[in-house]
């Protein structure tokens, strides 16, 4: 073996109360596609931030091409040839593509030249992008392209990608992988972080598994099964959600030509959605973010009012009802954004429980709160859903994303809804917690509730849905039985990749 591109040796980083990385060592070779695996909180983010110069390790060393490498800040890391695509995109909505790219570069050329180079690189790698467009108006896939092109313009030696595919359609993932393989052939190493083990098996040559901040194993993903890798990450046997076959019940919720204007400038209007949801079924709704998911959840939960007759519940028109009136009759919802939408970050878990559960769980009388009862309800959610927190008095903000997600989903399920609408129920949640959430949704359906799961994770939808429909630019496709759908069929239902064809059109 020749000298590796990047060598990590004994990296340790401790935060008050938690060791994020403990004695982490591994090598990444030139042009190697290396996967970094681990559950939430395993220390992956801290490790890549160390490599990118955002975090200073307490001890340990790194070498890049044999030279000591200690970036004091991202600027130094970029100058040394390390580029990173962030999990939560580090983009500026109100600025255009060229400005966003200039911000991620050292010594950027004038805007006009950036625009020309963006066009050139986007052609070269099949990532069409208009440098003059405002980023806030782009789809998630296009926003990611901005990040990737920002990195590529610096000719990086190492490209770090943190959860890059969670918001992409299968076609977009395929195009991204082509791009990454091309880069790898050209000698760029890629450090790839993902929860999606099948993707890692398709793309990566090597994998390092972290658990509780330590390296617990390495493997060749091409020859290791996804289940084995998952168990290596979790450290125990993985529970796979179990779905029972059951006859479909009567229709409880019916949408009739549901249309609504976009609620804000970057929103999507809902167009003519007709749908029946039956008792005891899980209806999966797939689609790329920004195609009306948030608006559909808002229309169903009552946050966004619609014409009375557009939504029927057990035969009654309810389109005009506000969220609490809908909760009362049994329609509950858990929106996607945990902090600030599903939960108030600075309020305690008990208070957050009261906010949605007070109607159904009768936590108030004449406007006065029953604190004892509310605390018991919050404790019930914490126990039933294995939420890791010292207790219900803790602020929602103090929970990790996965734990808070378990809490907000559990809070709705524990209220025994008749219709439950969830958006991205396992976004950013690790494998074992995701399995637990999915199982809880299936159990709820088995008890006779209708469950609508909106997600961008198609594997998840295929695992738990009875029927599948796709949301595309505010329109919903006709639902089809989920069993037997192929990836290609789903891709077509999703409307294909957005303007991905451009690069392949022959003149």
């Amino acid at each position: 073996m020749t000298e590796p591109l990047l060598r990590l040796w004994g990296l340790t980083k401790a935060y008050p109360g938690v060791v994020a990385n403990k004695d982490v060592s591994f090598d990444i070779g030139r042009g190697e596609v290396h996967a970094l695996l681990g559950e939430n909180g395993a220390g992956k983010s801290t490790l890549v931030k160390t490599i990118y110069g955002l975090v200073k390790p307490d001890s340990g060393t790194m070498t890049l091409e044999g030279e000591p490498f200690q970036p004091a800040e991202p600027r130094a890391a970029r100058a040394a040839g390390v580029a990173m695509v962030f999990q939560h995109f580090s983009l500026f909505d109100a600025m255009n593509v060229a400005e966003n790219i200039a911000l991620g570069m050292e010594n950027p050329p004038p805007q006009a030249e950036i625009a020309a180079r963006v066009r050139q690189v986007s052609d070269q790698y099949g990532l069409p992008l208009d440098p003059d467009r405002i980023v806030g108006e782009l789809s998630a896939g296009e926003r990611q392209r901005v990040e990737i092109i920002r990195c590529l313009l610096q000719d990086p030696k190492l490209l770090i990608m943190d959860e890059p595919t969670s918001v992409l359609t299968p076609q977009e993932v395929a195009i991204l992988f082509e791009t990454l393989r091309k880069l790898s052939r050209e000698g760029t190493a890629i450090l790839y972080i993902s929860h999606k083990l099948e993707e890692i098996r398709a793309l990566c040559e090597n994998a390092t598994v972290l658990r509780l901040g330590q390296v617990v194993g390495t493997c060749d993903p091409r020859t290791t099964s996804a289940r084995d890798m998952a168990e290596l990450m979790v450290g125990s046997t993985l529970h796979v959600p179990h779905k029972e076959d059951k006859p479909a019940g009567e229709t409880v919720l019916a949408l009739k030509n549901l249309s609504a204007k976009a609620p804000h400038r970057f929103g999507t209007p809902l167009r003519d959605i007709t749908l029946q949801v039956r008792k005891g079924e899980v209806l999966g709704i797939g689609g790329v973010a920004g195609n009306g998911q948030d608006e559909l959840v808002a229309a169903l939960s009552g946050e966004m009012k619609t014409a009375k007759a557009m939504i029927h519940y057990k035969g009654q028109p309810i389109g005009h009802l506000a969220p609490n009136a809908r909760r009362k009759i049994g329609i509950l919802a858990a929106p996607e954004e945990r902090m600030g939408h599903a939960a108030a970050p600075d309020m305690s878990l008990t208070e957050n429980a009261i906010l949605t559960a007070m109607t159904r769980e009768k936590l108030t009388t004449n406007g006065f709160l029953h604190w004892g009862k509310a605390r018991k309800f919050a404790e019930g959610v914490i126990t039933a859903f294995d939420v890791r927190t010292p207790g219900p008095q803790n602020a929602a903000r103090s929970l990790s994303g996965g734990n808070l997600q378990k809490f907000v989903i559990g809070r709705e399920i524990m209220q025994a809804p008749e219709v439950l609408v969830v958006n991205q129920p396992t976004w950013g949640v690790d494998a074992s917690a995701a399995a637990a959430i999915r199982q809880a949704l299936l159990d709820l359906a088995a008890k006779g509730a209708a469950v609508i799961v909106i997600s961008q994770d198609l594997d998840e939808l295929m695992e738990i849905s009875d029927r599948f429909a796709a949301l595309n630019e505010g329109r919903l496709s006709a639902p089809r039985p989920a069993a037997g759908l192929t990836v290609e069929e789903i891709g077509l239902m999703l409307g294909g990749a957005h303007d991905m064809e451009v690069a392949h059109v022959d003149a």
Binding site: Y15, T46, G53, P74, F89, S90, L91, F92, M95, L103
Partner: protein, 304 residues
């Protein structure tokens, strides 16, 4: 009422003078807000600048040094706000309001021995050739230098935000401070510099009142000009070009209503006094407000 007593040339000329203090304060606040900081202490920084400028100008008998002193005084008092909000993460709204109250008190204390004194003269420029053009000359080209400094500052801020790398970074910090930090920009440093610039500009605006417009020191002499500057920034959608327009509009209606009062218009004085505020707000609202910087008013702390 005798409308013929209003001289349109004089009216337009005094419009530029009346607009200058709010324009100076507003352009500083615009930069602060584009960096994502809401400093409601403009009034306090203005009056501090007014007294600092007056004290220095009287002491040195040089209005230019007075303006320099006002800028330094405004920047210094803005540093209190910057330290509290950027390092101690105090609430920006509350801290800004406190800064206004503090500035009013501090200036009254500093100005005690200076009441009734006249400021050293700050002569108008008579710009050769341009100043001799009929009508336009007296309106535009025969003012004191600070009028042109104000316009130049607005133009410079516009070009800075639009064309310079530093301006791009400043906008990025105001738009999404988390992302800017992730890309390796120093959010707090950029914001501190912006806050100091805002303080210096507010100081200049205040000194323009005490050295040119009035020109003497009286307690509370800014009389709400700082609040108008704040409002103009918002109504101008954080754009320098519109800010210039808003400031001139406000200045214009102010001068006009004073003239109408002098001419004995048959409208109650109270209504005339309201006019500049109403007119400015109405016009800038009709022009459709733009989007505020994404991180405006939020505290930033680089955790994890």
């Amino acid at each position: 009422m005798d409308l013929s007593s209003i001289n349109p040339i004089l009216l337009l000329a005094s419009l530029m003078v009346a607009a200058t203090p709010i324009m100076l304060a507003a352009i500083g606040e615009l930069v602060v807000e584009r960096a994502g900081v809401l400093n409601l202490g403009v009034e306090g920084m203005m009056i501090t600048g007014a007294v600092c400028g007056f004290v220095v100008a009287v002491g040195t008998n040089s209005p230019w040094l007075g303006f320099a002193g006002a800028a330094i005084g405004g920047a210094l008092i803005s540093m209190i706000f910057g330290f509290l909000t950027q390092f101690l993460l105090s609430n920006q709204v509350a801290t800004g309001l406190a800064l206004t109250l503090f500035g009013l008190g501090l200036s009254a204390l500093m100005g005690q021995g200076y009441i009734g004194i006249k400021a050293p003269a700050f002569p108008d420029w008579h710009i050769p050739i341009l100043g001799d053009i009929p009508v336009i000359g007296p309106i535009v080209f025969q003012h004191d230098p600070m009028v042109y400094v104000g316009i130049a500052l607005v133009a410079a801020v516009w070009a800075f935000l639009r064309y310079s790398r530093a301006g791009l970074i400043l906008r990025a910090v105001g738009e999404n401070h988390e992302a800017a930090h992730a890309l390796g920009y120093h959010v707090v440093r950029v914001r501190m510099l912006a806050i100091m610039f805002g303080g210096a500009c507010a100081g200049l605006g205040g000194a323009y009142l005490s050295l040119v417009r009035v020109p003497q020191w009286t307690e509370g002499m800014t009389a709400g000009a700082g609040w108008i500057a704040l409002a103009i920034v918002v109504f101008a959608s954080w754009r320098p070009g519109r800010l210039l327009l808003g400031a001139y509009l406000f200045g214009g209606v102010t001068v006009l209503q004073l003239n109408l009062q002098a001419a004995g218009a048959a409208i109650a004085v109270e209504y005339l006094s309201m006019a500049p505020y109403l007119a400015t707000i109405a016009v800038l609202v009709i022009m459709r407000a733009g989007r505020a910087p994404g991180s405006l008013g939020q505290s930033f702390h680089a955790s994890r």
